[in-house]
Amino acid sequence: MSYKNKKVADVAEVLKTRLDQLEDPTTILRAAELRGLYAEIPLLPAEDRRDFGQEINHLKRELEELVNKKQDTLQALPLIDVTAPIDSNVSDAKRPRLLASSQGSRHPLMKEIEVISDIFYRMGFAVEGSRQIDDEYHMFDSLNFPAGHPARDDYDTFVTTDGFIAPAHTSTMQNRVLKKYRPNLDSSGSIAVLIPDRVFRNEDLDARHEHTFYQFEGIFVGKGINVGHLLATLKTFLSAYYEQDLEVKTQPFYFPFTEPSFEFAMSCPFCQKNGCNVCSYSGWIELLGCGLIHPNVLSMAGIDPKEYTGFAWGGGVDRLVMMKYGIEDVRHFESGKLEFLRQFK
């Protein structure tokens, strides 16, 4: 690197030469010459300060790079044979070994997804993963969102510069899953799939909002499937999950991919509707969105909506886990804090 300012150039040369002779190369960064340059800044005419300051900063960065390189060679580690399972001259007592089982842990979200998946698996649902990058067709078009429709705004999606989308719901898998399991309709007569996975929303982080979280999506398609089936299925799942009989209720909602659409609430399993912190003393907990699959969504997956009907739902896993354990801050999940993680064996 060359320096336009003569003073800086001179100091650069002096320091670079000195660096080679130093035992501890980091001392060069504290050299008097360098400090001297910084001290000159306030003495300069205001219009020259910026350029001069930038030059010194460049020099400092160059020196840091050189120090790093030098340190890397000075601290070069002894050669090892990476094909060997063990280093040489290791005593038996100090061989590598696994850490204590007792400190191992699985992530609470993954554990909960296993629990949820297991209940639905026992109810006859296949389980599928979702995607973390998808196209507009699967995220919106195949779910009956007209192009440019304001309903797309409700999803606050992240998009890439090449036009891909970070899915904001696991429904991004509906079209694929319906197609994959379509042959079921001929044999067993129904499609039953659970899709638990990671989704994204362009939302600022706080104790209750994450931009990265987990949903569990369910799809059921068969002959003569109705709203009562949807509600009964969710009620059965929740009663199994909370190991108690729960009440359920709905509120009309709007999703482009279901008709009719609902918001679904269960009676609070933590206070049996007597009122507690978890349900904000309302006795009810709003849990997920659901509805009968829109005929256009079925058609787009090659299923005749005149012959078959179905239902779908999507709910948040993070929320279930937070309520279950009384976790106070959703940000803990992706924090990588062992203090948090090791509590979930």
């Binding site: 850490l99 196209d135 009562g228 009964a232 009719p260």
Partner: protein, 848 residues
């Protein structure tokens, strides 16, 4: 959307309690966010008549008044006539006025939310004042605090103020999201209809809504020209001029309507347009007619619907000046822009107190275009909220006529200044209502209900659907939705309508039935769960980290940002790219955890792992979608003190031990090749190896050379970037490959009835000979030598290098030799070892 219970009661009756109504709205209309008891806020405020009004003896700007409250207030000092003394500072106070009186003990409504101010009887400059006479601002109606509110003299003194102006109201706020497809529910009229429907009551739209008023007072004629250059984007454009209006604050009753539903009153003309919008969902706009003329320098006002010219600017009502997007629907006079159609009006043609003549516009605009313009310029108004739901263009005429009617009522001198202009596109003129035919079976099958055709018809007719019976068919209905129901297009929409109006909570719950075929396993998900369980059992902690990473992470670990998908709307630079490998995300969690309390203690060490996909632009599937490359990353880290106390050798081998243990659990045999010999072409593979120190890293493959992943210590720049301790190492595996290889697990070997012979063999080789070479040679020799019935297992090696001879190492293999048919003799085993030694001579090895 705020429902004013008093307002909707003008159009339908409500026969249930407020609590039941709220619950019903929740179950059948949409989520109720908040219910406000407005009456409570105005409790105790009384309408009073000013009886006397004298100048305050000790203050220039104050008056001492006595008021007649009809004796309504209790616990208040009265004079001989039963009147109450109040000091008032308003310039407009005068004898005979009917005013809003806040007696002592009442809280000033505008202070209820912040810092409640409770009035009392107290002396003001020596004169007793019992409470106060209130301005619109103090009553929280508008921002006007220039004087006290005056009410119609027809209101009897002593009447509750809340009752007199309709503030004895409940406001039920319903979440807007529910109404994305229901433009009609952005008006109180539509809400009233719906509330009738869910109570199973018949609703009838008022007369003015069914047929436009035709006989209206004529005024001075004004010239108005209207032109629509964008009939596709503005299917209907109506406008009418009204002359000789008197612009002033609205009467209190009108202000109160707006205030109840959250709209600030401005002046009588603007208030009427807002009132009509809140009632019908159709936004209106009023222009100053004379300002339109002035702009063009003519005596005729012109309104044109067009796109903006390049660079054309408009100063908006909110004070901002914009250069509208070229595709925006604009309203212009003959020469200049005057408004953004469906979004916001212009400042220069705004109706103000000096306005004499106005033009009122009632138009329809394309919802997509309005939405785009609103988003692009960041302008969100009540008009946008309504237009972007797709308001029907069929109500413009009745709405405009009703608005004009109200203005003529409020301005006694005003009159229609010409004819109504009505520019309609073919689409807007299309009155053909196709309707939808559904059978009762179709509906009942989807709801799980047993409703009769007649019950279905009644539910729909209650909210003004037309039911045309299908001749000679007693199983089907032909449903013609009213024009405002733009959401009813297919039979399923009718199902929703019937289900909702009937009440979903009345439907029977029944589980679906299915065959007893077993649900299929998902082997990839099962495999991931196996990995999690194994690693957790091995003392490792599973973490989840963000899919998105900072661009400078690539620089730090030496990955190419060009190959990473970049977000165009990232929340922050921290989350701008899709990650290309998993290990760096784990390395990011090392330093903070080593410093944290949990691992501080005797053993400051941990192993963390994550299973998640990574992304590179070079990997696309057959549908041109990015391939999600599923990885498992594992990282070991320990502080220096812990590491040197517990272990010997490089940290690399700690990672190796975890990898080998995992492979062992899975029954996979692997090979390790120095990373220095690994030169991948694919950017995503280069990204995977980048964070590692190639001199201290290896590539893991199956014994049949299927690639599995990378393992090693991390490069100096990576260590620096994440402040890693020297004892950090890890590996990253391709999960799908691992599963494939694990599936080839050979399985079971029958047990031998004969004893095993255990023998060590130590070979001395030059350092340059890698363990892998030596091991392969030994294995190959054994493979050639061992007979069918024999089996040799090579155990964990020991490697030793003496201080005297640092150029060589001693590798000791422990062999377990057995034979399923006989007890092995020492000679057999010895000759086996001899042959192994001989074979290793090819590598310069020497048996010791």
């Amino acid at each position: 959307m705020k429902v004013s219970l008093n307002w909707i009661k003008e159009y339908t009756s409500v026969k249930v309690s407020i609590d039941d109504l709220v619950q019903k709205i929740g179950a059948q209309l949409g989520e109720v966010e908040e219910v406000t008891d407005l009456g409570k806020r105005y409790e105790g405020i009384v309408v009073a008549k000013v009886v006397t009004c004298e100048k305050h003896p000790n203050a220039d700007k104050l008056h001492v008044c006595t008021i007649d409250d009809g004796g309504a207030a209790k616990h208040v000092t009265r004079n001989a006539k039963g009147h109450v003394q109040v000091v008032c500072g308003a310039p407009n106070v005068a004898v005979g006025l009917h005013v809003a009186w806040l007696p002592p003990g009442v809280t000033v409504p505008s202070t209820v939310e912040k810092d409640p101010f409770v009035l009392e009887a107290r002396e003001i400059r020596g004169e007793m004042s019992n409470g106060m006479l209130a301005s619109a601002s103090e009553l929280d109606i508008s921002d006007d605090h220039s004087g006290i509110v005056t009410l119609e003299s027809t209101i009897k003194p002593g009447t509750s103020f809340a009752q007199a102006v309709g503030f004895d109201d409940y406001i039920i706020d319903i979440e807007n999201k529910m109404f994305t497809h229901r433009p009609d529910l952005f008006g109180e009229l539509g809400l009233a209809r719906e509330i009738a429907g869910i109570q199973h009551q018949k609703f009838e739209s008022p007369n003015w809504y069914r047929k436009a008023v035709t006989e209206q007072r004529q005024g001075k004629k004004l010239s108005l020209k209207v032109k629509n250059e964008l009939p596709a984007l503005s299917p209907r454009f109506m406008a009418v001029a009204v002359s000789d209006v008197t612009v002033k604050p609205s009467p209190v009753w009108l202000q109160a309507y707006l205030s109840r539903v959250g709209i600030r009153p401005i002046n009588n003309i603007v208030d009427v347009t807002n009132y009509i919008m809140m009632l019908t969902g159709q936004p209106l706009h009023a222009y100053d007619h004379d300002r339109l003329c002035e702009q063009d320098g003519t005596s005729a006002a012109t309104l044109v619907v067009r796109h903006p010219a390049k660079g054309e600017e408009l100063k908006l009502l909110n004070g901002k000046t914009i250069t509208p997007r070229r595709e925006a629907i604009m309203i212009a006079s003959a020469k200049k822009l005057v408004g953004v159609g469906g979004v916001i009006g212009g400042a220069d043609t705004e109706v103000s107190e000096t306005t004499k003549n106005i033009v009122i516009e009632c138009a329809s605009f394309d919802m997509y275009s309005v939405r785009k313009t609103s988003m692009e310029h960041g302008i969100f108004t009540d008009a946008v909220t309504r237009f972007n739901k797709g308001q029907s263009s069929k109500q413009n005429d009745v709405v405009l006529a009703h608005a004009v009617e109200m203005i003529l009522d409020l301005c006694p001198d005003a009159g229609i200044a010409g004819s109504y202009h009505d520019l309609k596109s073919a689409k807007a003129q299309d009155n053909a209502t196709k309707g939808v035919t559904v059978s009762s079976d179709f509906v009942n099958e989807r709801l799980g209900s047993k409703l009769s055709l007649k019950e279905m018809a009644t539910l729909l007719e209650n909210v003004e659907f037309k039911i045309v019976s299908v001749p000679a068919d007693k199983t089907r209905l032909h449903v013609i939705p009213p024009f405002w129901r733009t959401d009813i297009e297919i039979p399923e929409d009718v199902v929703e309508e019937i289900g909702r109006l009937y009440g979903y909570d009345k439907l029977p719950l029944l589980l679906p039935t299915r065959g007893i075929e077993p649900a299929p396993h998902n082997s990839l998900l099962d495999f991931q769960n196996t990995l999690r369980t194994l690693l957790a059992r091995a003392g490792a902690n599973e973490v989840l980290t963000y899919t998105f990473v900072h661009g400078n992470l690539f620089e730090k670990v030496g990955q190419d940002p060009q190959n990473a998908y970049q977000l165009s709307n990232a929340l922050s630079p921290e989350l701008q790219y899709y990650r290309q490998s998993l290990a760096p995300s784990l390395l990011d969690k090392v330093h903070s955890n080593l410093k944290s309390d949990i691992v501080r203690g005797d053993d400051n060490e941990f192993v963390i792992f994550e299973i998640n996909p990574v992304f590179g632009k070079d990997l696309k599937d057959k549908d041109r979608l990015p391939v999600e490359d599923l990885r498992l990353a594992v990282v070991f880290a320990a502080d220096e003190k812990t590491y040197t106390r517990k272990y010997e050798g490089a940290a690399y081998y700690m990672a190796r031990h975890y990898a080998d243990s995992l492979f062992d659990f899975l029954g996979i045999s692997t090979k390790y090749k120095p990373a220095t010999e690994h030169h991948p072409d694919q950017p995503i593979s280069r990204a995977a190896i980048a964070p590692f120190d190639v001199d201290r890293a290896a590539i893991i493959t199956s014994t049949t050379d299927e690639f599995l992943g990378e393992i090693g210590e991390f490069s100096a720049p990576t260590r620096r970037a994440f402040k890693l301790p020297p004892a950090t190492a890890g590996f990253e595996l391709d999960v799908r490959q691992l599963m494939r290889v694990a599936a080839q697990n050979p399985g079971y070997t029958p047990l031998s009835r004969f004893p095993k012979v255990v023998q060590d063999i130590t070979l001395r080789v030059k350092n340059e000979v890698s363990y892998q070479e030596l091991h392969s040679t030994v294995q190959a020799a054994l493979h050639d030598l061992v007979q069918d019935s024999m089996m040799v297992v090579v155990g964990e090696p020991r490697i030793y290098r003496s201080e005297e001879d640092t150029h060589h190492k001693h590798v000791t293999f422990r062999l377990w030799v057995s034979d399923s048919t006989r007890t092995l003799k020492a000679e057999v085993v010895n000759s086996l070892l001899d042959s192994v030694a001989t074979a290793s001579e090819s590598l310069g090895a020497e048996r010791v």
